[in-house]
């Protein structure tokens, strides 16, 4: 397809190819293989202690998705202490092998999806997701995570990352206006929103969209803060942008407003330049 400006783009068709195999009757073996794959790809929440955590009631759930958002929660919130890991979401797909359903917890630094609980106020929970969740697992992820806690006036806050190239605006955005936050909220969310709402025709996809859709149809108050950044690797300036997003829950969540550079470095180290022409 050629665009208005003449460049040729290879577009994939949203219409799934007509699959004639689909019309053929499937045999039992196919059916079994399909069932096994589906089972392997299922998402489930595993609690670390033996006690049944289903009785845990939750009033605030903060979900961080993407390297900047998870870096922010780790450096600014979890580093304050007072949080303990209570469970994890186990899933398997072509890009997340390590978090398959084994009893062993993933090694530190490995991509994973961990649930934390605040020690002095157990109704505040946080989910830090650094692993890849495939498109077909997003719906189930939202169902499992939001279904695993008892909702007691629950409010969900989602922090997520997005690249600036995805953001559409009629005015050209210069580099010095980034990073910035945009929010989306469900109909039942009545709290204050810390930044402008996401303008049409922009949309969100992925895990944050799955969680927000789940909350919208089940009438759970929820808000998504999406940070648009033009830096490809996690960086401290982008992480700092999320500080505004957590002001709404500042009563429940204590933040370390100025983490030391040692802490920050741990979450931005990945962006070290390996080698280029000049170094």
């Amino acid at each position: 397809m050629a665009t208005f400006f003449g460049e040729v783009l290879s577009v994939y068709s949203r219409a799934v190819e007509e699959d004639d195999d689909d019309d053929l009757t499937q045999n039992e073996e196919d059916e079994e293989i399909r069932r096994e794959i589906e089972e392997k790809r299922s998402v489930c929440v595993q609690w670390m202690s033996q006690t049944d955590k289903r009785s845990v009631s939750c009033s605030h759930l903060i979900i961080a998705v993407g390297l900047n958002a998870t870096g922010f929660t780790s450096a600014y919130v979890l580093s304050c202490g007072g949080w303990s890991a209570v469970g994890r979401v186990s899933l398997w797909n072509e890009r997340s092998h390590s978090s398959s359903r084994t009893d062993a917890a993933p090694a530190p630094g490995q991509p994973a999806c961990v649930l934390y609980q605040q020690e002095h106020n157990p109704s505040v929970m946080m989910c830090v997701c650094t692993c890849y969740v495939a498109e077909d697992q997003l719906f189930q992820w939202a169902e499992e995570v939001l279904g695993c806690v008892q909702k007691r006036a629950l409010t969900v806050t989602v922090l997520s990352d997005c690249v600036l190239a995805e953001y559409k605006a009629s005015d050209y955005l210069s580099g010095n206006s980034t990073p910035f936050l945009r929010a989306l909220k469900t109909a039942t969310y009545t709290g204050a929103v810390a930044c402008p709402l996401l303008e049409q025709p922009n949309i969100i996809t992925g895990l944050s969209a799955a969680v927000l859709s789940h909350c919208q149809v089940h009438q759970i108050p929820a808000v998504v803060y999406q940070c648009y950044s033009d830096v490809t690797h996690p960086d401290s300036v982008t992480m700092e942008t999320y500080k505004a997003a957590l002001t709404g829950v500042s009563a429940a969540v204590k933040m370390n407003l100025c983490p030391t550079s040692d802490i920050l470095q741990k979450f931005t180290r990945a962006s070290d330049v390996q080698s280029n022409l000049y170094t």
């Binding site: 208005f4 219409a15 799934v16 009629s170 025709p201």
Partner: protein, 260 residues
């Protein structure tokens, strides 16, 4: 699973359902956008399913700043009680492994709602047309047997053309004829399902290519309007459809001013 926005389930008794197939150029979805936007239809529920890729955004049909912050999801149902019209909008592709269960969900939902008829707006690759299809109009229709009895005369009066069946082996006389809708997504399978389930369904489709498909969407919706008379056609010119604000910036953001 259909989830109502209100307290009780809305009644769709005697309603006509219009829905898109996610197909080439997203023409069906664009046409449905025009319909919802122009008739200012209120949202009555969601089709909450794991078969579609999740997506969320603000109100795509916002008319003022107040209603701009209403959240919209990947599949929503809108209704117009005076016209007895329900519209399902699907905004994301179907997950490839779940096409079958999505069709099953749609068929059972259509059945349970008791729609008088269902219209599937779709499209098909223009480059795969055969010689017969290259001539004349690019619009085609298909009717399931229960609807054929009622409507075939009407659509023939309108001069509509039925989608041609293609020979399995061209140039061999008496070879098997079959329906072929390349790029139509679930169109063919859903049509076949509705035939076996005795559901009154019409497929209205257009041959097009991927690109700027706004013109195709206008053509398709005007074509549908000739049949269903959803909006009165003025004596001069064509129906004034309202383009929703979500169609802005189709070719990306603004251009850096320093370029000039």
């Amino acid at each position: 699973m259909f989830i109502s926005t209100g307290s009780g389930d809305p009644s769709f008794k005697g309603f006509t359902l219009v829905m898109p197939a996610v197909s080439v150029g997203n023409v069906g979805q664009l046409a449905v956008d025009l319909l919802i936007s122009t008739l200012n239809m209120p949202k009555v529920g969601y089709l909450h399913t794991d078969c579609l890729i999740p997506m969320a955004g603000n109100n795509p049909y916002a008319t003022c700043a107040e209603d701009a912050s209403q959240l919209s999801t990947n599949a929503e149902v809108y209704s117009h009680s005076d016209l007895k019209l329900a519209v399902l909008q699907i905004r994301t592709p179907i997950i490839q492994t779940k096409v079958r269960s999505f069709r099953k969900l749609l068929v059972s939902w259509i059945k349970s709602c008791g729609f008088v008829k269902t219209v599937l707006l779709s499209s098909s690759h223009a480059y795969q047309r055969d010689d017969r299809q290259l001539l004349g109009t690019s619009l085609r229709y298909l009717l399931t047997p229960p609807l054929q009895k009622l409507e075939v005369q009407r659509v023939e009066e309108l001069g509509w053309r039925e989608m041609e069946r293609i020979s399995l082996f061209p140039d061999i006389p008496d070879s098997e004829q079959r329906l072929y809708i390349p790029g139509g997504g679930v169109t063919k399978a859903l049509y076949t399902d509705c035939c076996t389930e005795d559901i009154s369904m019409a497929v209205v489709l257009i041959f097009c290519s991927e690109g700027d498909n706004i013109a195709d969407a206008f053509m398709l919706i005007n074509h549908l309007n000739e049949w269903l008379h959803l909006l009165e056609k003025p004596t001069q010119g064509s129906v004034k459809w309202r383009v929703p604000p979500s169609w802005r910036l189709l070719f990306g953001s603004g251009i850096p001013p320093l370029l000039f």
